[in-house]
């Protein structure tokens, strides 16, 4: 089976540790994952903002990079959703029958990480060890666009040494929403504050999710609120083992200032 990593533009540029974790995890499970260097982005930022013409070359680059692989694995529910649900719309818009055909061949092979592990590899216990207390946020696109269901939780429940706290109102959107976070930043922030508050209520040390863009938003609020809770991608948790605890940067001691940990505290 030829397996490609679609690392996503956000992870490539901002969160390379997530991509490295996927590589480490898959290799541990015996999958020789490849990284096609022609890849860039799924095109979702353009599509979801209304720039379909601008998305055409991006989708073209995507299918070119990932053509010929049996599976394309990505640590992002949102980007997998874009490939599976939006690429055909972009291709139709392009009027390029060749692109439509290429999309029809590539997009069904795109898997979000937990789907690939559970459905393709058939594993739930990936041999991870992570001695921390976490809570899990099911991101909207993984939950409702892809329908990953409880796959991430099935994987997380097998991680040794880890305690999982239930997140209140877990299925409600964190308010990221791509360019929504900029165009409707007040609403986005209001949603993010509620999510951050719920995360705080769990008492977990770490918030885990399958999309770094959502985590960048929630983590950015948790940090601004000096909550002391850090965020981590599902892949990094699953890649952790006794021998190799995650490549975690030394945690800097934050004085948790109660008066500043409420909503809207600024630097």
């Amino acid at each position: 089976m030829r397996v490609a990593l679609m690392v996503t533009c956000v992870n490539d540029a901002m969160f390379p540790d997530t991509g490295k974790a996927v590589v480490r995890l898959l290799r541990r499970l015996g999958v020789d994952v490849d990284f096609p260097t022609g890849q860039t982005c799924c095109g979702q930022p353009m599509v979801n903002t209304g720039y379909l013409d601008e998305a055409v070359p991006v989708v073209r680059t995507f299918v070119h990079a990932f053509a010929g692989y049996d599976a394309v694995v990505t640590p992002s529910g949102s980007c997998a959703g874009s490939a599976r649900h939006q690429h055909s719309i972009v291709a139709r818009r392009s009027g390029d029958a060749g692109l439509e055909k290429a999309v029809a061949e590539v997009s069904p092979n795109v898997y979000e990480l937990s789907e690939f592990l559970v459905d393709v590899l058939g594993v739930a216990d990936v041999g991870a060890y992570f001695p921390h207390t976490i809570t899990y946020h099911p991101t909207c696109h993984s939950l409702r666009m892809l329908g990953v269901g409880d796959r991430p939780m099935r994987l997380l429940r097998q991680v040794r040494g880890m305690r999982i706290k239930e997140l209140p109102a877990a299925e409600q959107c964190c308010g990221f929403g791509g360019t929504f976070a900029l165009k409707n930043s007040d609403t986005s922030v209001a949603m993010g504050n509620d999510k951050a508050r719920h995360v705080g209520e769990t008492g977990a040390e770490i918030l885990v999710a399958g999309d770094n863009s959502c985590l960048m938003h929630i983590g950015g609020m948790l940090s601004r609120q000096r909550s002391g809770v850090r965020v981590m991608h599902l892949a990094e948790v699953l890649a952790s083992t006794e021998d190799a605890d995650p490549p975690m940067h030394p945690v800097e001691a934050h004085p948790v200032d109660a008066s500043r940990s409420d909503i809207g505290g600024r630097v």
Partner: protein, 492 residues
């Protein structure tokens, strides 16, 4: 009522005001939380819910795709049953028809059942100009009308008001409209409902003309359906001598039997009940029972425009249950006024642009962006309207309507530049190197780090400030994933 949605600012601006209103946010969180739980409970009771949703979507789609045939049949059936059928291209025509009927009976007032269509065409304001008072009789509509307010929810237009505010409105404004509220009125919901009962009773008993909308219009029998709770609908549909019903042309179902799926879906989705207290069905005039003069106004007002939209057409399946509002995380925080229309929430974010067209005014164009695309609305919709997909399609229409602009927006230029960077892996790698450099420069002075140790960026310039004003952002890493892979072959 002088309150109007005309001239509302674009969504982000209106939302900011709403978000700052802590009372409003508390009222909304309480109300939407309550209704979400009720809905979830009664939907879970139905083991074939998904089958019902599919059937409803199919029936509506089949009807919309052959709408002309069904409209003509509806007209024939209504006429056969003794109703007078009128057609209205737009709001002004519809209002004129209703006003003319009222004037022909020499009345200076009508009683009204809550109706989205008459709200959409601003019938009350039009009748007021003709010297005819239109009394809203649904409790929530009464609260909105007496408070000179605007509706903020499809099912519960006064959802933004709590009991204390409602008591204030009744005490201050009921007297000017008829029977005053009792002096010892408390804010107990039962007492407030009783005050409304007494206030409206005299209006019901004397009214000569009733005005309603309809939840459904059955083509083969000419039956109209009104689904309600309080009995105000029955009062308006039954006691007056004359009844005028304004019906959007998309409200058709082909047969009486087709109603069997919708009357299972609507109450559970809407009020979270197995069945709403009252549903009335009537087919034209029934001798000796109810109004003996019955008018039906078939309203277009942008519906044919929506019908022409291949992706957006599905919005015309909407049965106005408001389940999408109640589950929407955006609506829950901003409330309905920010949408600038009687149709707020996710369905409003697609229906308004579909009815009015995009590229005309900035307020309407802002609506498709008033969503994080979380998909909760699609999941809750009883007629399976894929609202996120329609939103994305409408965003493209908004962008396309500005492609010819002489001065493209900064966003359009940014998207073009990003698309160029995303055009090849090599170009993206170069851009990442540059951004890493810029990021390290921007983050250079900051001492704070994210939990986990990453350095933070400072305040971003331009549109990026909308991010960093409320959220921290890590500096880009020293090495992108791409660069790491190139350096190590993935074995670093």
């Amino acid at each position: 009522m002088s309150a109007t949605f005309v001239g509302m600012p674009a969504f982000p601006v209106a939302a900011r005001t709403a978000l700052a209103d802590t009372q409003l946010r508390a009222n909304l969180a309480h109300a939407t939380g309550t209704i979400r739980a009720k809905r979830a409970k009664v939907v879970a009771e139905v083991d074939n819910w998904e089958e019902l949703r599919l059937a409803a979507a199919g029936i509506k789609d089949n009807t919309l795709l052959h709408l002309e045939e069904h409209l003509v049949r509806l007209e024939e059936s209504l006429t056969r049953q003794g109703a007078v059928v009128h057609w209205a291209r737009d709001a002004a025509e519809a209002c004129t028809i209703v006003a003319d009927v009222a004037k022909s009976h020499g009345v200076d007032e009508v009683v009204k059942v809550k109706s989205m269509a008459t709200g959409e065409i601003e019938l009350n304001e039009a009748l007021a100009k003709e010297g005819i008072a239109a009394w809203e009789t649904d409790l929530a509509e009464l609260i909105v009308q007496l408070g000179d307010d605007l509706p903020s929810h499809i099912l519960v237009p006064a959802i933004h008001r709590n009991r204390a505010e409602i008591r204030e409105i009744f005490l201050s404004h009921m007297a000017a409209a008829g029977r005053p509220a009792p002096d010892d009125l408390t804010d107990e919901p039962a007492r407030l409902a009783d005050a409304a009962r007494l206030h409206l009773r005299e209006k019901f008993l004397r009214a000569k003309v009733g005005v309603s909308g309809a939840n459904f219009a059955v083509a083969d029998s000419g039956t109209l359906v009104v689904v309600e709770s309080e009995g105000n609908g029955r009062m308006c549909l039954t006691l007056p001598e004359v009844l005028v019903t304004v019906v959007g042309i998309e409200k058709i179902v082909p047969t009486w039997a087709d109603l069997d799926v919708f009357l299972q879906l609507l109450p559970r989705s809407s009020t979270g009940e197995r069945m709403n207290p009252y549903t009335s069905t009537w087919s034209g005039v029934t001798p000796g029972d109810g109004p003996q003069e019955v008018h039906v106004v078939l309203l277009d007002n942008g519906r044919t425009r929506a019908l022409a939209d291949d992706v957006g057409r599905q919005a015309l399946r909407c049965i106005r249950c408001s389940a999408c509002l109640n589950v929407c995380p955006v609506y829950e925080r901003t409330g309905g006024h920010a949408y600038g229309s009687v149709y707020p929430g996710p369905i409003g974010a697609i229906l308004n642009p579909l009815l009015k067209g995009v590229g005309v005014d900035a307020q309407t164009d802002s609506l498709p962006y008033a969503s994080s695309l979380c998909g909760a609305c699609f999941e809750a919709c009883p007629v399976r309207i894929d609202i996120p997909s329609v939103l994305v399609d409408l965003r493209a229409q908004v962008v396309d309507s500005h492609r010819g602009d002489r001065f493209p927006k900064a966003e359009a230029l940014a998207m073009k530049a990003t698309a160029l960077a995303f055009g090849s892996g090599g170009r993206l790698g170069a851009a990442e190197k540059a951004s890493g450099l810029v990021g390290r420069l921007l983050g250079g002075g900051g001492r704070r780090r994210l939990p986990g140790g990453r350095k933070l960026l400072g305040r971003l310039p331009g549109p990026g400030a909308a991010w960093t004003d409320a959220r921290d952002l890590p500096t880009p890493p020293a090495e992108s994933f791409r660069a790491w892979w190139k350096r190590t072959g993935g074995r670093g």
